[in-house]
């Protein structure tokens, strides 16, 4: 068969499968990400059918997926929201980082994967999935709840922290000497700071480059600028994803609104391809051997996220039930964890990191989705009420 024909057949079959799985995920009310990962695991390396012809197609698609994922994340936030969250949730963000990054780092060191892998795994366990959690809050009708602004502020801070963390990680995984490593980390942080400053201060000028109401030039322009900056950022070791995130932040007003409207379908397509590709390149057999550490890590870090949420909500003066809701809502990890694992594995750091991260994300998303509903259950509300009554009496 002709190479291109085979590519069409493989890619088409896979996309069709993803669509069916997406519907299934919707029907049972959980995120489709774990399904895409599982589908990828089932095929590709170590799966039933290796996908040869379409490997390159999926690889390129997955890179665009990461870029769009981050660009749209940047588009979601305005400068005032970033600074507002930085002011109001600083303490919560710090608690979040410490409690959740340390277990990951500790496990990597325990498994003997070395310090660079420890930094990577720390990132994997630290960052909750903004996408999964925002959708969860919406589905459960909790946008009006009093604990919600705190949860969202923690997510914003994590996303902002990623703008600095990812370039540091990409500098580390290149594996330079300590001195050279320090220099490239310093350059990366400086570049991010400069771009962030320009984006926040002169974002309206950048937005003027694009016509807000002409969808085709807007789509092409924003996509073009995003890919261009992402590529340049990667060239100076500042991770393409971060470049895309910063472009997203720089755009504001109607341009940002309309750009996110035209880019969202593209993001959905390519982000899904990204998750499937990560599964494709991960060996399913290794996932089984990594299942136990992944499970242990998930249990520990769901508890640490619970503590983070309780702390955040308590500081905002929210009652006991609300504290539980905030804690469990933060549990799912998702897109960033996979981005980080992909970055580390791609550079040849601890190849077992990929199956570990896959298992970990699968467990936290599924468990998190169910745990988030627990505080709404009648028995849970009753038991909280009883405990409160006991404490009062």
């Amino acid at each position: 068969m002709h190479e291109t024909t085979l590519l069409l057949i493989e890619a088409g079959a896979l996309l069709l499968g993803m669509s069916l799985l997406g519907r299934l995920a919707n029907a049972i009310g959980i995120s489709a990400i774990p399904f895409y990962l599982l589908l990828g695991l089932a095929f590709g390396d170590g799966g039933f059918i290796p996908f040869d012809a379409s490997e390159e197609f999926f690889e390129t698609g997955s890179e665009i997926g990461v870029i769009l994922l981050l660009a749209l994340l940047g588009l979601e936030y305005t400068a005032s929201e970033l600074f507002g969250s930085l002011k109001s949730a600083r303490a919560a963000g710090l608690v979040d980082a410490l409690l959740n990054a340390l277990p990951g780092a500790a496990l990597a060191l325990l498994l003997g994967w070395g310090p660079v892998a420890a930094v990577a795994l720390a990132g994997v366990t630290w960052v909750s999935s903004s996408g999964v959690i925002a959708k969860l809050l919406r589905d459960l009708g909790r946008l009006s709840n009093r604990e919600t602004p705190g949860i969202l502020a923690v997510l914003v801070l994590e996303d902002l922290a990623m703008a600095f963390y990812l370039p540091i990680l990409s500098a580390l995984v290149i594996g330079l000497s300590l001195w050279q490593g320090a220099i490239s980390v310093a350059i990366a942080v400086a570049v991010v700071s400069v771009i962030l400053f320009v984006a926040l201060r002169y974002g309206n000028l950048v937005s003027k480059l694009f016509p807000a109401d002409q969808y085709e030039p807007l789509l092409l322009g924003v996509l073009g600028l995003t890919m261009l900056v992402a590529g340049l950022a990667a060239e100076v070791n500042v991770s393409a994803a971060v470049g895309a995130f910063l472009v997203g932040i720089a755009l504001s007003g109607r341009v940002a609104e309309n750009a996110s409207q035209v880019l969202t379908p593209l993001r959905d397509l390519f982000a899904a391809i990204f998750f499937v590709f990560f599964g494709l390149t991960t060996d399913a057999a290794e996932l089984v051997s990594m299942l136990l550490p992944a499970l242990a890590l998930a249990v520990v870090t769901i508890l640490t996220k619970l503590a983070t949420g309780v702390y955040t909500a308590r500081k905002a003066g929210v009652g006991t039930l609300g504290q539980w809701r905030a804690g469990f809502a933060l549990a799912p990890r998702g897109e960033f964890s996979i981005v980080i694992a992909g970055l580390a594995v791609g550079a040849g750091v601890a190849p077992q990191l990929a199956p570990l991260a896959t298992g970990y994300v699968l467990i936290t998303i599924i468990a998190g989705t169910f745990l988030a509903r627990v505080p709404d259950a009648a028995w849970f509300r009753e038991s909280v009420k009883r405990r409160r009554a006991r404490q009062a009496g």
């Binding site: 979601e76 936030y77 005032s80 929201e81 970033l82 507002g84 969250s85 903004s130 925002a134 009708g141 909790r142 946008l143 009006s144 709840n145 009093r146 604990e147 919600t148 602004p149 969202l152 502020a153 997510l155 914003v156 609104e257 929210v318 009652g319 039930l321 609300g322 809701r325 509300r381 009420k385």
Partner: protein, 164 residues
């Protein structure tokens, strides 16, 4: 007592406005970036949680605001007539044979002639607050007037018979 409305940012989603009533109930409106609103009513047992939320589109939200706003205005007017001696509110049904039927409010020159103000028109069950002089009077309109007893009687006469 002044009414406090608290504004809370919801990064990535929009803003939320909270109102706590005198009875201690919390009502909130989440305004999404795309103009969608969620009207939330909070749980009495668990004041942090939204018990029920009603999604509203732009037009529905505006209509609801109109109804709420108008009733506030009318109830304020009623309380005004209780408290302030000599100032009354009256709802006058437009007589079916009024000379001003299908003419504009400005044509009546009600304020100049009677020193009473027309503050609202109730039409088809909805309220037109602060109608402009260009507003055309229709059959079945109920006109809400504020003024002295004499002034109100004057408006009544004016609408029924035209200028003396």
């Amino acid at each position: 007592m002044g009414i406090r409305i608290e504004k809370v940012d919801l990064p990535g989603i929009g803003v939320r406005h909270d109102l706590v009533t005198e009875g201690g109930r919390r009502i909130s409106v989440v305004s999404h970036r795309d103009g969608e609103r969620d009207l939330g009513v909070f749980d009495e047992d668990d004041p942090d949680a939204c018990r029920n939320s009603v999604p509203l589109n732009d037009e529905e939200a505006a209509a609801l605001a109109d109804v709420l706003g108008a009733s506030v205005m009318l109830s304020r007017l009623t309380s005004l007539s209780d408290e302030t001696a000599g100032l009354y509110t009256e709802q006058i049904a437009l007589p079916t044979d009024s000379p001003y039927l299908n003419r504009t409010l400005g044509d009546t020159k009600a304020r100049t002639r009677t020193h009473a103000s027309i503050v609202a028109i109730v039409r088809d069950g909805s309220v037109i607050p602060s109608p402009t002089p260009a507003e055309r009077l229709r059959a079945g309109d109920v006109i809400v007037v504020v003024g002295t007893r004499e002034g109100l009687d004057g408006v009544s006469r004016l609408l029924a018979n035209g200028p003396d």
